[in-house]
């Protein structure tokens, strides 16, 4: 997301366009497209000179502006003749609608920001520990399995942004033994799996070696057997019934 940094306060081409329009005190419904286009292009050129990476969205917008500009130059009648549907339609209309919509979005964002601030001034306290009022045994937990919990954890890890996630899985080195039981656990759920399915998610050299040794070990103790339809085909790993 380098453009979010490099373009500082501009959250995209619409944001930049709105800024240009606002700065000139232009009527949003009657944008002098030639002027705005050249300013927009100037901005992109300035960024190029600063060797800043320009996000593709800005280039797409530049192209859109140029297209609108050229259509504005065409005589209306000629445009109408070429395409009935665009008869009398201002080529800027779609862009204007988009800008207006984005402007509402910015308004709502500002609204949320001030509410967020107001709410940050308000403090609560954790719920009271009601255990002293509750002498009975804990209420049984129903309809929830261990796998639901593990699944919740997996979803959590997926939700954690990538930069945080590195720390999340770091230092978690699998032993061959652990890997054997993890493979068995998975095979008990699936009965069989391909080599790729079992090892495709392994991310480090260490874990790859551990997983491979674990597979060999499982074959040796007779927990699994492997089949391969043809050379270089995916290997299928099947759990032996005794271990199911």
């Amino acid at each position: 997301m380098s453009y979010e940094v490099s373009l500082e306060k501009f959250n995209g081409p619409l944001d930049l366009l709105l800024h240009l329009i606002r700065k000139q005190e232009i009527d949003i419904h009657d944008i002098p497209i030639a002027l705005v286009t050249s300013q927009f292009l100037n901005y992109i050129r300035a960024m190029e000179e600063l060797s800043l990476e320009i996000a593709s969205e800005f280039l797409v917008m530049a192209a859109t502006l140029l297209a609108i500009k050229s259509r504005m130059l065409l005589p209306r009648k000629a445009a109408a003749a070429s395409d009935e549907e665009t008869d009398n339609i201002d080529p800027r209309e779609e862009l204007v609608l988009q800008l207006l919509e984005y402007q509402r979005c910015k308004w709502a964002a500002g609204e949320l920001k001030s509410r967020e601030h107001l709410q940050s001034l308000i403090y609560t306290r954790p719920p009271l520990d009601l255990r002293p009022y509750h002498r009975d045994d804990p209420l049984p937990v129903e309809g929830v399995s261990l796998w639901d919990m593990v699944d919740a954890y997996r979803k959590l890890l997926l939700r954690v942004p990538k930069e945080d996630r590195v720390a999340e899985i770091k230092g978690h080195e699998l032993s061959v033994e652990d890997t054997m039981s993890s493979i068995l656990t998975r095979l008990r759920r699936w009965t069989k799996a391909t080599f790729r399915e079992l090892l495709g998610t392994v991310r480090t050299r260490h874990d790859l070696v551990a997983s491979f040794l674990a597979l060999l070990e499982l074959v040796k103790i007779g927990a699994i057997h492997c089949t391969q339809a043809s050379p270089f085909d995916d290997i299928e790993i099947i759990l032996r019934e005794e271990y199911a």
Binding site: L14, G110, E111, I122, Y123, P127
Partner: protein, 189 residues
């Protein structure tokens, strides 16, 4: 007749803390009708206001709770030990605003309004549990639909989605009102 129940109401709201209690839950604990609960809550609220308490009774995401009054914040900041969660970036607020007003909405639709990729921002909002997946759109690729969470309502001090401030009207014809002058008058509760 309901006055003797004001003290118990205060006690259970206090006990519920940041979890709060729904009107329904209060009615079960106090063993009175939902209507009576509303009456009691209104009374307790105005009692707090009258005595200019440091606390107030509010409804957040459908749950009633007792919270500190905003003007006491300077004192609380002094004693707060836990750093508060970092504020949201402009980009995050934009995406959140679109999801809030347009839910359920796909990432693609969010991006077409903003004019930029928004996957990273959406990811952050998902992680902070302000936004969640609410289903799949019945269209090619079955894209994920996003909506806001109850935590979103709490974070922004809303009792429900209906309490979102109304969006300014998109009026293309009137040229005299510049939309830029639409300074957001803060809606009061």
């Amino acid at each position: 007749m309901i006055v003797p129940l004001l003290a118990p109401l205060e006690a259970v709201l206090f006990a519920a803390g940041s979890e709060g209690l729904s009107t329904q839950a209060i009615s079960e604990v106090l063993e009175v009708s939902v209507d009576t609960v509303f009456e009691l809550l209104t009374r307790l609220k105005s009692e707090y206001e009258l005595r200019e308490a440091g606390l107030e009774v509010v409804e957040l995401a459908g749950a009633w709770q007792i919270v500190t009054r905003a003007d006491c914040a300077p004192y609380l900041e002094r004693m707060a030990t836990a750093p508060s969660a970092p504020g949201l970036s402009q980009a995050a607020l934009e995406v959140l605003a679109i999801v809030a007003y347009r839910q359920p909405i796909t990432r693609g639709q969010v991006e077409s309004i903003r004019g930029v990729q928004s996957d990273r921002v959406l990811q952050t909002l998902l992680h902070r549990q302000l936004v969640c997946e609410v289903g799949r759109q019945d269209s090619p690729g079955r894209p994920i639909l996003y909506g806001t969470t109850p935590y979103f309502l709490q974070t922004f001090g809303l009792s429900s989605l209906e309490h979102l401030p109304p969006l300014p009207v998109l009026d293309e014809t009137s040229e005299d009102i510049s939309l830029f002058d639409l300074t957001p008058a803060l809606p009061r509760d």
